[in-house]
């Protein structure tokens, strides 16, 4: 009989070494218990509200709306969360769960560094040990975040294998977990990996769409026509989509990183260029060659520079419920600059991919229509890299 645990259509599953199986089974049992535990949920809500600054604002971007001349645009300001990104939602949930499970040590992978910073933050808050794996290439692109993690008391281990980016950091974190399980929780940063991670991470990030729904109903008295977010592994996107999935009238748009273009090899647009495969514990779509070797993907955004996508997104794509579009480096950088100038909001280069797509579709939509874009993180960390992209020799 085929294992149905954690399947989203044909995607998901638990493709991991036997050594880790009891660890994920234990995690699933703990999560199933605590997710319905009123005390756990009360503690998490207090952390969200008092520590992470939730609920995050749903901001009407009037100048952006006027500049684009079409749909009314709202920004879901996850960039205003403590630590500057949506990553803290998932991390507070997992760290609290790990603590309840008696774990004393968190390990994590990170791409742009936002998940690593969030994990280091939660570890500091809860008195846990923290080790973060980060591709060596990314430690250079995101040097400031490396410093932040160390400042917060975490050990940062640069990963030099493979392409030395996010996928290699995930591989190395998985290897580390197989060597030390008893006291260690792997705090996975996106809706990916083996079951139950895609479900756990989604549930903790679903607070985004839960809030958007209530906020937009209050402000506009109706649901939006489209909600949009950038997609790497897909955690802020699934968080943005989740409570709108049953609402057929709400378009769900995920914006993938096309890098230098989906017709080049320098891309990370998984739905647009990948095919079905099995990697990092899950069945989903992956950028790969004809023999199943995982492709060395590329994007200007370290956080989207991943060759796969979470299994629930793969399923939403299969059934046609969500659309996945590709946005190039160039378009994202333009959007990064455009939002900074029109609204005084510097978005993370990841989030700028969603803004870029909104810049394409908003002008074609009616003025009575509404778009919500999730600004998953703030862009301070990207300023030096974007300056270099524009030919300025800026180093932190």
């Amino acid at each position: 009989m085929k294992n149905e645990a954690g399947r989203f259509g044909i995607h998901g599953g638990q493709y991991i070494p036997e050594t880790l199986m009891n660890a994920v089974i234990e995690l699933e049992a703990a999560y199933e218990h605590y997710k319905n535990d009123p005390q756990f949920n009360a503690e998490l809500e207090t952390l969200f509200n008092e520590y992470a600054n939730r609920p995050s604002r749903l901001y009407y971007a009037e100048k952006l709306t006027k500049a684009l001349g079409g749909a009314k645009i709202y920004l879901k300001r996850e960039d205003l969360n403590h630590t500057g990104a949506h990553k803290i939602n998932n991390v507070l949930g997992q760290a609290l769960l790990a603590k309840k499970m008696g774990k004393t040590r968190l390990i994590a992978e990170t791409g742009a560094g936002q998940h690593g910073v969030a994990t280091a933050t939660a570890a500091a808050l809860m008195g846990m040990e923290c080790v973060v794996f980060m591709g060596e290439e990314d430690t250079k692109r995101q040097a400031l975040n490396v410093y932040r993690m160390r400042l917060l008391g975490a050990e940062v281990i640069p990963v030099t294998t493979g392409t030395a980016t996010l996928k290699d950091a995930v591989s190395e974190a998985m290897r580390e977990w197989t060597s030390r399980i008893a006291d260690t929780h792997y705090c996975l940063g996106s809706v990916m990996g083996p079951h139950p991670f895609p479900t756990i991470v989604r549930d903790f990030q679903a607070v985004i769409s839960k809030e958007i729904r209530a906020q937009i109903l209050e402000k506009e008295g109706r649901l939006p026509d489209a909600v949009m977010a950038c997609v790497g592994g897909g955690s802020n996107a699934i968080g943005t989509f989740y409570h709108f999935i049953p609402d057929e009238g709400v378009r769900l748009i995920g914006c993938e990183a096309a890098g230098r273009g989906i017709d080049t090899f320098e891309t990370a647009a998984t739905i647009n260029t990948g095919r079905l495969g099995i990697f990092h514990g899950m069945k989903s779509y992956f950028c790969q060659d004809e023999y199943g070797q995982i492709a060395p993907v590329y994007s200007i955004s370290a956080g989207l520079d991943y060759p796969g996508i979470g299994p629930e997104h793969a399923h939403l794509h299969d059934i046609g419920r969500a659309e996945y579009v590709a946005v190039t480096d160039d378009e994202a950088v333009q959007a990064f600059e455009f939002l900074s100038r029109t609204e005084g909001i510097i978005p993370a280069i990841e989030s700028a991919h969603a803004v870029a797509h909104a810049m394409k579709i908003a002008p074609e939509m009616g003025k009575d229509q509404i778009i919500v874009i999730t600004i998953s993180g703030r862009g301070d960390k990207d300023c030096a890299a974007i300056a270099r992209y524009r030919g300025e020799d800026l180093h932190e």
Binding site: M1, K2, N3, A5, G13, Q14, Y15, I16, P17, E18, T19, L20, M21, N22, A23, T161, G162, K167, D168, S171, M174, R175, T178, S179, R180, I181, L276, G277, I278, F279, H280, G281, F286, Q288, E290, Y291, G292, Q293, I294
Partner: protein
Amino acid sequence: MSKIQNAFQNGKAFIPFITCGDPDLETTGKIVRALAENGADLIELGIPFSDPTAEGPVIQGANIRALSGGITTDKIFDFVAELRAEISVPLVFMTYANVVFSYGIERFAARCAEVGIDGIILPDVPHEEKEEFAPACRSHGIDFISLIAPTSENRIAEIAKDAEGFLYVVSSLGVTGVRSEIQTDIRAMTEKIRENTTIPCAIGFGISTPEQAQHMAEAADGVIVGSAIVKQIAANGRDAAPVVGEYVKRMKQAISG
């Protein structure tokens, strides 16, 4: 009885692992012949994967060298077909789920049977996902080999009952690679396994010295050695075959003692 069980008829089995195409297929051919001539009872042939998450640095390095040399799954099948004409020792493939899935599970199993492969080991396919792969293997007479880890505990009975070929007993936590000490209570694991199956069990991960091999063999039907051999191949390149042959002879003697 599958051909794999023949490997366990000649005293304790010595099972070496090498990565195909490291540094090239011609050298792999020479090494396989040297392994067979010097007492290997079964040979694990690695099909390289770009991101081998269960491997330590040594075998990761072999995977990268092989892939940089342009090795592909099809080239490896052709290579094994040629090799089979002169080698009778049982051969199993060790690779990752995506290599098989991407090739097509049925097509992969059929090719294995055609070229004379006797089993498949996929370290990222646990018991829960086995039935996606095992039926195609079964229908072509290929054993789908399961792994048992130090953390398996309550899972041992179920995995052992469904086992085919042999059971790969993982000696330690962590990834593949040489270890100075193996602390797991191997005997407790193999005793639990034997309560549930008559399929032989072989211990792997971390074994490099004749002393370790001898010690491990006391509790099992065979020992598997990968990283220690791959290291010799990395150090000696195209001249590795005689070095590896000599090593295998010593290891087989140690566990036969």
